[in-house]
């Protein structure tokens, strides 16, 4: 198909405090249904969305973090995390609940540059 576009969803907000992280996930799943070339980027507090061990019983909110592991089933396999954002939060790749590609800030900039459509959350 020639009309496939490269979509990048940029996640910069932590989960639960606002609705952004969950809404981004909803839109990602919708766009995957349209057979587009979808990538997800996580930087700044967005990297917290992928933290292992989230337990939301105490705040009576749906724990949507397992959904990131299900993205593979929708052919959404390109997840990118900025190295500098992880480091500023005392996190490493081992703290994340899904396989990702860790990029430098410069590489993240290049990734954004290559897209047809960038949606920011």
């Amino acid at each position: 198909m020639s009309d496939i576009k490269k979509f990048l969803f940029v996640n910069r907000k932590p989960p639960y405090g606002t609705i952004y992280a969950l809404e981004a996930l909803e839109v990602v799943l919708i766009s995957a249904a349209f057979d587009q070339d979808v990538s997800l980027a996580f930087l700044d507090d967005g990297v917290y969305q992928l933290k292992k061990g989230q337990q939301t019983k105490g705040i009576e909110t749906k724990n949507f973090s397992p959904t990131y592991r299900a993205l593979e089933g929708y052919d959404v396999e390109k997840l990118y995390v900025e190295k500098e954002s992880l480091a500023a939060r005392g996190l490493t790749e081992d703290d994340l609940l899904v396989d990702v590609t860790v990029l430098s800030s410069e590489e993240m900039g290049n990734l954004m540059d290559q897209q047809d459509v960038v949606l920011s959350f």
Partner: protein, 98 residues
């Protein structure tokens, strides 16, 4: 007095402003502010320094939701929702740094 913060210190200046202004009293970190109290985050040194003059508490259910209950910095107390109410009741006033 009690200062209540609900924003991440790395995405918002609320906690930074609170620490600049508050010279004594207590701080309760809730919602996205709990990230400030985790080991290894870029705001850790500011929190450590503030612990010398302020009592700092974190709302445990919010820390657990974010998968960071095992990363709490030393010197910060964990409270549940009942403890939240007790803090508000025990202080003569409180400010939410929205």
């Amino acid at each position: 007095m009690l200062h209540i913060i609900n924003k991440s210190p790395l995405g918002n200046v609320s906690l930074d402003s609170c620490l600049r202004v508050a010279k004594s009293g207590e701080i309760l970190l809730i919602e996205d502010a709990v990230y400030a109290a985790t080991r290894g985050n870029a705001f850790e040194a500011r929190i450590s320094e503030a612990l010398g003059r302020l009592k700092i508490h974190v709302l445990l259910p919010d820390l657990e939701a974010r998968g960071l209950a095992d990363r709490l910095m030393d010197g910060i107390s964990k409270v549940d929702y009942g403890g939240f109410v007790d803090l508000v009741a025990a202080n003569k006033n409180c400010q939410s740094w929205l």
